[in-house]
Amino acid sequence: MMLRRIGLVAWHVFKESVRDRVLYAIGAFAMLLVTAAVVFSQLTAGQDLKIMKDFGLATIELAGVLMAVFIGVGLVAREIERRSIFSLLAKPLPRWEFVVGKYLGLVLTLTVNVLAMSLALYAALAYQHWVAPLGVRASWPAPASDPRLMIAVLMIALELALLTAVALFFSTFSSSTLISVVFTVGIFIAGLLSADLRAFNDVVDAPVLGYLVVGVGWLVPAFSAFDVKNQVVYGLPLAPGFVLHTIAYTVAYAAAAVGAAVIALRSREFK
């Protein structure tokens, strides 16, 4: 019964999201950019396939980040603004189920979008494979339609799942959508720099400040930990343990962030 209620909320979010114009705008733009990678690759001397893959994966990630931030911060805040949360909370639906359902719904939306953009990228890469002479194909470090690209896609999906949890937390915490966007983007940028923050002591000799910065580096969501685009594009191997640990990390951190969102929503009084 509990799972059914969460599933219903998630499905409702998915249906609502796919009708969102913002989603279509970002999605169409991303599709255009992914396929435009074919054109960009023609402008470079050599490295055309690498640039197509770099450009395609970066576009998928960037579009996903925009979707996660702009839809994620409105997940709960919009219900509060519209006052539709009153009717929802009047139903036999615990707040934590409401939050978890919202979260899973957006993760489902993002996953579908990432998969659609990945298909577009694979189509562009297949075209590149088709037009490239045999000698050129032999010089590629990894095949054009390399199935290992899906590892990078999986990592992007995990990154977006984590970012959605952060956006959801700010959505319940803050009463302003703009402030939620600023906080979420700020945490995202800090997370992209988290590896540098954790290695701060290797670069600078400042013990006290160093430990403080390293501590922050471990606390913020490690968005940089999902970046395996270079390894995948160069066809370098990634251990299954690496992928499994990354999945476990995402689940643990996202659970903590969603848990914090539940606490924040529980502590709010709606009059």
């Binding site: 290797d202 670069v203 990634l238 251990a239 640990h245 643990a252 903590a256």
Partner: protein
């Protein structure tokens, strides 16, 4: 539903989740580190191209490239890389200064570290001079750049004529401090000497930039090491004068009362005495190596 107990439990669960996630990340990075991408490259090496792409944010882009420069230098200095150390230092500095031609710190950083001999730097004094000349083209009245070019010639290449030329040029520039004129004259007359070098390094110690002060401190320690090597070499020669043969090791000099104990350089690494050539030099692993060419006797 809003009781204190469930909330406290929830907060504990959140903290536990964060701790678990950090330990998972730590385990992943230590057990399954991703293969390093050995090809370190800059996608764009043209400052004008980056400037156009960044629209009106070229100064911000300069700051970002500057941070990358510091990270690249710091990381490579601490790494055990045998080849390709500091390979991006020159293009990163060029990008930074192309995006922001007034970025004085970047030019002066380049002067110090591009010219440093391995393992502390890439050993490219000509690149350091080119970078500083670029700075002079952007701001012709900055005496610091002319002084730093002189310093590179004085300290790294040992070309004292060029060093004196640049010190004289710096002395003629607006707001140049009064000590540069005498320094130019001394360099012209006597070439490199440790007194002049000490004076220059003492001036650099007053720089507001920490890395310039650190480089100056290291230079002063190198001069101390050179003085100590001269003293020890004199002791070796004195031993030969007294005994008609060279010492076999430091113990011979200690027993002869010429030195009190095993000699250490200013970084606490023992000096090495080569019994075959009878020369004293820095020990392996000394952070003061290599010593500047122009001041060795």
């Amino acid at each position: 539903m809003t009781g204190a107990k469930p909330t406290a439990f929830g907060i504990l669960a959140v903290v536990g989740g964060l701790a678990l996630s950090a330990s998972l990340l730590y385990a992943r990075d230590h057990r399954y580190p991703p293969p390093p991408v050995t090809q370190r490259m800059l996608y764009v090496t043209s400052g004008s191209v980056v400037g156009r792409v960044m629209l009106t944010f070229d100064a911000l882009a300069a700051d970002v490239y500057w941070i990358r420069t510091i990270q690249h230098y710091g990381r490579d200095r601490k790494s055990r890389l045998q080849s390709g150390r500091f390979e991006l230092l020159e293009p990163l500095l060029d990008l930074t200064t192309s995006l922001d031609p007034m970025f004085m710190t970047a030019y002066r950083f380049g002067a110090i570290f591009l010219s440093m001999a391995p393992p502390e730097g890439p050993g490219k004094p000509e690149a350091a001079v080119a970078l500083l000349e670029k700075g002079l083209r952007a701001t012709p009245d900055r005496w610091q750049y002319a002084h730093d070019i002189g310093f590179v010639h004085y300290w790294q290449t040992g070309d004292f004529t060029k060093a004196a030329d640049w010190f004289e040029r710096a002395a003629r520039m607006p707001k140049a401090p009064s000590w540069i004129g005498p320094l130019a004259a001394t360099t012209r007359a006597q070439g490199g000497n440790r007194v002049g070098a000490r004076q220059m390094l003492q001036e650099l110690l007053t720089s507001p930039e920490a890395y310039i002060r650190q480089a100056a401190e290291r230079g002063l320690l190198q001069l101390q090491a050179l003085d100590a090597i001269d003293f020890l070499q004199a002791a070796v020669d004195e031993y030969f004068r007294r005994h008609g043969q060279y010492p076999a090791n430091w113990s011979d000099l200690v027993r002869a009362g010429l030195i009190p104990a095993l000699p250490l350089d200013p970084s606490r690494v023992p000096f090495v005495y080569d019994a075959t050539t009878h020369h004293v030099k820095l020990g392996p692993g000394s952070p003061l190596a290599p010593l500047p060419q122009g001041f060795q006797r």
